[in-house]
Each structure stands twice: as structure tokens, then as C-alpha cells.
Symmetry: C2
Subunit: 324 residues, 2 copies
Amino acid sequence: MATIKDVAKKAHVSVATVSRVINNKGYVNEETKNLVLSAINELEYVPNELARSLFKKQSKIIGVIVPHMTSYYFAELLEIIENATIEHDYHLMVCNSKDDKERESKYLKVFHQYSIDGIIIISNTSRVVDYQNLHIPIITIDHWLSDMIPSVTSNNYNGGKLAAQKLVDSGCRNIIHLRGPSVLLTVQSRSKGFEQILKTNNLVHKKYDFDFKTPNHKDIQKAIDLNPDCDGIFCDSDVIALNAIQCLRNNQKRVPEDVQVIGFDDIELANILSPRLTTVAQDKNLIGKYAVETLLKLIAGETIDPLHNQIDVRLIERETTKKS
Amino acid sequence: MATIKDVAKKAHVSVATVSRVINNKGYVNEETKNLVLSAINELEYVPNELARSLFKKQSKIIGVIVPHMTSYYFAELLEIIENATIEHDYHLMVCNSKDDKERESKYLKVFHQYSIDGIIIISNTSRVVDYQNLHIPIITIDHWLSDMIPSVTSNNYNGGKLAAQKLVDSGCRNIIHLRGPSVLLTVQSRSKGFEQILKTNNLVHKKYDFDFKTPNHKDIQKAIDLNPDCDGIFCDSDVIALNAIQCLRNNQKRVPEDVQVIGFDDIELANILSPRLTTVAQDKNLIGKYAVETLLKLIAGETIDPLHNQIDVRLIERETTKKS
DNA sequence: TTGTAGGCGTTATCAT
DNA sequence: ATGATAACGCCTACAA
């Protein structure tokens, strides 16, 4: 718990000099520098970040608000963000909003209190005003807070198109879409892209909404039972797809022979469980890194262009669809 | 960005008085209190936590070190920890060690710099000295750093026993154990409990080590191929179990008719995918809450008893074992 | 009951 | 090239 004063005393210099050497700023003689350095070593001195932050009004902390952590998609995103953050000598304060506005407001206050330097929002609420009042750089993932607040998202529209095209190409004519919550922009985009392709192929389809992470199994079963002639299913998450496959099995339907299934996300298990899932993969790695790096630019006062970035998705064909 | 001074000025009192009302400390007249309160309201004043922390030498931040976030077990634990932390008006700095000692050391330094109040470690490395030099309260989950550092763990020994007993009771005689990394204490305990029961039943068994989270599918297949007569498998994680079931399917073995399978953890998917997994459930909720609350006691200077707490596990019988 | 003033550990501006 | 010193925003003796 040595302070800068202790170091100064030990090295027989002033605190100003010590400050200069630890920050590599201003002129300082090689000799005295070494003196200071060895004093730092002996005392195992580490600068107090709180004092620093207080003075500089920036904390080297980035706040992240996630709606939950127990879905693979968010967990992986969080991991990538943490990694990128550390690489730039920033640190992460993680907040789980549970999609609750109250909680989110509370966190914003906390961010303010700690002079958080920037915020990454992966939440779904939309307290634009609150955010703007904070005057803290923000970037959102998978969400459009306002025209002025930068965002990064998968190209969900294209994801929907890819899935539809694949289904159509491999012979499906009776298609249903097991969507995520359709209040979400991401879900809406996927839907639009999906419909777009079906429409140009003169196909209609039914759609049902579910939770991404813990879809109600019985409701999925119902949706599938209601469409006995269905030969193709597009699911807005791999977990929904995994569930759907179970339901199809219950109905003695074979995948992909009778019904083809496409998921979304490409979670780890999608490539392990049998049949291995055909899915629209989101480039979480790129999204996470981009979010952090863009936020850092924002913090540094740089301007972002484009303000709203779309990351390519790609269709990974595995065992739940036929070759087309 | 109003400061305590601004509030003082607006309320025509001194900063000391303002400080007293925001901290509910010392004598302060009702009237002046109200004056201050309304000034606070008008200015939307929020105390600067950094300044506070600097003075008090405690930051209301808890640091968590996890080996990774993308396994369901850790993700859920993290979520529970975050929740408990917030409830006590603390906040979470999350650090992903990736089981790398260098990274972990770096984080410890960071914790020091931010005057972190306490640390929760869910990591596997064992830099006991480093930790003790920090003089920051610590609790570990699933790990025994030293006799003196409190810990909380599932009763893995009992988990192993429960699994073995179930397998034996439902008729298995040719059992294998697909373990996690056997360097881990948790894995060792499970192994011991498991062996204990098998031994009293005069059964021998083979065991193989895998990664909990991303076990090598081919190696699991090999282990299973090597034991064609196997009729019971205990897996140290649900993901391993899910993999094993795929491998058994590849070999035209029926679960549970030909081979019974028991997992560990009880992840969400275990209850969704078919066949629904029989598994040893860890009480993550209790573990997470206990960790936070115990750490808070430690921070408050209370003593912990017992220093090393074991949380009960329970066997959840579902569809991958027979009725016994 | 309230106000003054010093200090928490840093940084940065001025002198020297 | 180095050293005083005044902030940063808050808290708490101590005085009044």
C-alpha cells in the first residue's frame, strides 16, 4: 500500500518527479529516473487508480449491460468483450439488467458514480433519454437506441434471406418460422429477409414467437403439430432449433429427410449434438471486438463512420438440411 | 456532474452538512436536511464514488475471476453472483483468467489499484502467495487455495456416490467414468465418492479424462468403443454426457435400455434435449449467494465458520437411467 | 446543530 | 530537470 509519497521519500525526490516517471511524461534525468524506478520496485508501489481516476475524471472502466448471461450467445460476447477490454488496459463492470428498466436505471447511476468511461449495451430496453443525459460514450449491440448512438449488429436481414434461400433451394415448400420475440429489431430484420425470399418464390409461411434462450417446449410442439405438412423450419436461435428437432422426433419426423431445420447463432453445441445443426452463424468475435474498439474511439473523441455497422453472417450447412 | 459543493451552495449550507445528510450521519436539523435534499434533487446530484472510495479506501467493487464464461455452469454462477452483489450495493468487476497465471496476476494488480473490497475466485490456478500478499478478503468457489482461505464447493464426493449408487441400483455392472480434468479437486472428489460405492459393490471401472466444456468428441467415441460391454456411464459434466449419448447412438446403443448415462451440473439443456438427462444437480444458486454473502462478512471483518463449506447436491432422475 | 480545514493519492501548472 | 502546490470530490475531526 505504498503511495507516491513513500516512493518520493525513498528516492529523495519530489512526488512530481515520481509522477513523471510513472507516466513517462515531461523531462526527467536518466539517473533520477533509475533511482525512482528502484524505489518503486522495492516498495512494490502500484499507482492508485482511484486517485488517478478522480483527478482525470475517467476511470478506465467500461460498463456493460446485458439482459442475461446464461445464454451462450451473450456469454461468448461477454468473453470477447472482456478480452478486448483488457487488451486496451480497460476493465469491465458487468451489469445484468434482466431486461428490467428499473435495474437498468440503477446501473446508469452507478456508471455515473464511478466515472465509467464508456458503455456497451446489449440490452433491449430503450431509455434513450436516460442514456443521452449521461453524456457517456455508448455503443449498442443488436439494438438501435437512436440514430445518433452507434451500434453494431449482425446483418440479420441477410441472415433471414440466407436461411430462406437454403430452405427453398433444397426443396421446402411448406415452411414455418419459429421466431424470437418479435418486439426485437433483430427478429424483425430476420423476419423481413426471410419473407422477402419466400415471397419472390411465391411461398407463404406461418410464424410463431418464442424466447431465444428458454423457449417453451410445449408451445413449440404445438406449433409443429399445427403444421403436419411442414417440410422446413427456420429458427431464430439454435436452442429453439434443438427444441424443434426434439418435437419433430416425437412426431416420428426425420430430420432432414422429412423436415429440414435451420438455426441461428451457431452455438458450440450446434456442432456437437446429432444431427449437427445447419445454422446462420453470427460473427460474435468481430461484433465484440468492434464494439470495444469503436467505444474506445468514441472515448478518444474520434468520430465513427458508419455509425451503425452491420456484420456479415454466414450459413453453415451441416446435417439438418439436405444438399441443394 | 454536480458536486457536493454545488449542493452546499444551493442549499446555503456547508459541504459538511451535505455530507451528513447524504450519509445519514451526525446531527442535522430536519429543516436544513430538507433544504439539502431538495437541492440534491434539483441538481440531480449523485455522490462521486471515486472520491468516496479514495477517502474510505474501499470501492464497493467486488472482483471475480473466472476461468471462462462460456460454459453454462460459470455463466449461471456469474449471473447469480452479480445479482447478489447488486443487492448489497456492491458492483462487479469481471475478469476472465482463461486459466492463465499471467492474466490472473495482472488482474490481482488491477484489483489492488482499484481498492477492490473483495475477490471471488472460480479459477483453477493456485497462486496462494500472491493472493495473501494482497490482503484483500477472498473466497473461492470449487477450489481450495489454502486452509485459511474460505471456500464453497458442491459436495462432489457425495455427487460421485449418488451417481454410482444409482447406476448400481439400476443394474449396471460394467461402468465407466468420463471425468473432467483429474487435476481438479472437484473431479478428484467425485472420483473418490464414485469409486467408494463401486468398491463396496465389488465393481471395478475404467475412467477417462476430458474437458468439461468442450470435450473432444472423438476421444469420447474412442473411450466408448473400447468398452463395448459398458452398461453405465457417469459423466463429470452434462456436456460430456450429451456427447457420450451421441457416441452411443453412433454405435446403435439405446439409452437407457442398453447403456445408462448420468451427467453432472444440470444445465438448462439437460432437461430439454431428448432423452432428458439424469444428472447430479449442483445448487449454483446457493453457491453463488453464499459466496457473495460470505465475502461481505469477511469484508465486514466477521469470522467465517465453517471456513470451507460444502453444498449438497442431488440426483435428478430423468430419462437416461432406468427406474431402480 | 453547523462550519472550517486537512487529507485521501494523483496529476498538472507553475516556478525555480 | 526538478520541486511546490493547487486541484479532483469527498469525509471527518475539531471548533464554534
